[in-house]
Amino acid sequence: MGKKNKKFEWTRKHLLGLRDLTAEEIGFILDTAEGFEQVSTRSIKKAPTLRGRVVVNLFFEDSTRTRVSFGLAANRLSADVIDFSKTSSSVSKGETLLDTARNLEAMGIDIVVIRHCAGGAPKLLSKNINASVINAGDGFNEHPTQALLDVYTIRKERGSLKGLKIGIAGDIAHSRVARSDIWAMTKLGAEVTLIGPPTLMPGKVEELPVKVCYKLDDVIEELDVINMLRIQFERMGKAQFPSVREYSHFFGLTVERMKRAKDDIIVMHPGPINRGLEIESQVADGANSVILKQVSNGLAVRMAVLFLVNQAAMKRQKK
């Protein structure tokens, strides 16, 4: 695998999204991630790779998994990690995003991992500061490392994504995971079907490189992979679907539905799970579920991303 990418040079100082990446670039991140997997499995779970680098976790939105995963990934590569959480609404007055970032930068940081409720916030940072910027989720735009760990997990299970039929079920309109997944999976040759009620589909969905299906039952039999997105309860208030019960009835991944799926269907979920709502416990914990593997793989993928953006930044410095 390494051999085929021998001449490839990673040049991106930032990872803002997967929409602009080529299949080759995505493949290269996944290849690189493989090299990092063993760091987490051996007796001393640490490598000196990013010693002396400073990584800031700049989180403007609640997150446990992603923040811990990035923190651990950076720690395992011996970087110094600073947590800077500031959960407040984007419209609130006070210090602007750029001012916050510039202040942090003045203290000498190398990589900013940013989570923000406004789409495009990482892009804004990348245009205005010198540090590398990694998008850890921005609004409804992208969550590139989540999608990378998704495709990494699928690739590990199946060797390749080419020709696989992948379903993404749930609130697509308000999901950055779905958007990043769509870009990554289609670029790697999978056929993606979005599953959910029309009220949770993005506008002009027909112009996206995907199929759309309003009934999970219509496609469950043909899917190789199903990624169940988390139900956002706040959507219910806006009446984009009537009730949790009705949602589960049509779009929940139940034991009953699983009987009709392929025996080796891969069941994924970006977490946190609403047990019994979008996915039944037996399915989430069942033999087809790779939900915890996704979490483990997330570490390797994030280590790879930290490593690569740092490499590209170094190279630019040289120039």
């Binding site: 390494g2 490598a47 000196p48 490499q311």
Partner: protein, 175 residues
């Protein structure tokens, strides 16, 4: 470009290397061979085959990727971008005698990285370094235990090891 080792000479050098290593191995010691990516990996494959035959026992083989341990990784002056690949060592290295294999010993920096990488995997009984070519110009206080060929050439020259598995031919050249 000048050839300093031909295919036959490489073959002979490896056999010779194996003989010397075998002499030093106590029959009760567990031994494993670990090659440094990428050419050390191929040499280690060849070496472990010969060594197994010689000692008449199965000897484990591992591959070490040292990219994460390189000291030029955060150095803007570092030359080409290194590619991270997997370390494949499926056994516990603790309490084993490890024969670490590389193609060329030069500055000693790769060996330093490899030693650090190995130490993070466990606590071997001992590590011995075996190389095909020692071309001198060390920058760190590191010496090999087994050397097939020593060449005394100016620092500006480059030693290239070609092996059939990746380069279609076995030979060592100086340019």
């Amino acid at each position: 470009m000048k050839e300093i080792l031909s295919a036959e000479q490489i073959e002979k050098a490896l056999s010779d290397l194996v003989n010397r290593i075998a002499l030093d191995i106590d029959p009760n010691t567990e031994v494993a061979v670990i090659g440094i990516r990428s050419r050390g990996e191929i040499l280690a494959q060849r070496l472990v085959k010969k060594l197994s035959e010689k000692l008449k026992r199965e000897i484990e083989l591992g591959v070490l990727d040292i990219t994460l341990y390189r000291d030029d990784i955060n150095d803007p002056q570092g030359e080409t971008q290194p590619t991270v690949r997997s370390t494949e060592i499926e056994f516990d290295i603790s309490d084993k005698l490890i024969i670490l294999v590389d193609d060329v010993l030069y500055t000693g920096r790769s060996t330093r990285s490899a030693l650090d990488a190995l130490m993070d995997l466990g606590r071997p009984k001992a590590i011995r370094l075996a190389v095909l070519v020692d071309r001198g110009h060390r920058e760190l206080p590191i010496q090999a235990d087994y050397v097939s060929c020593r060449v005394d050439i100016p620092e500006a020259l480059k030693v290239s090891v070609h092996l059939t598995e990746t380069d279609d031919v076995d030979r060592v050249t100086v340019k």
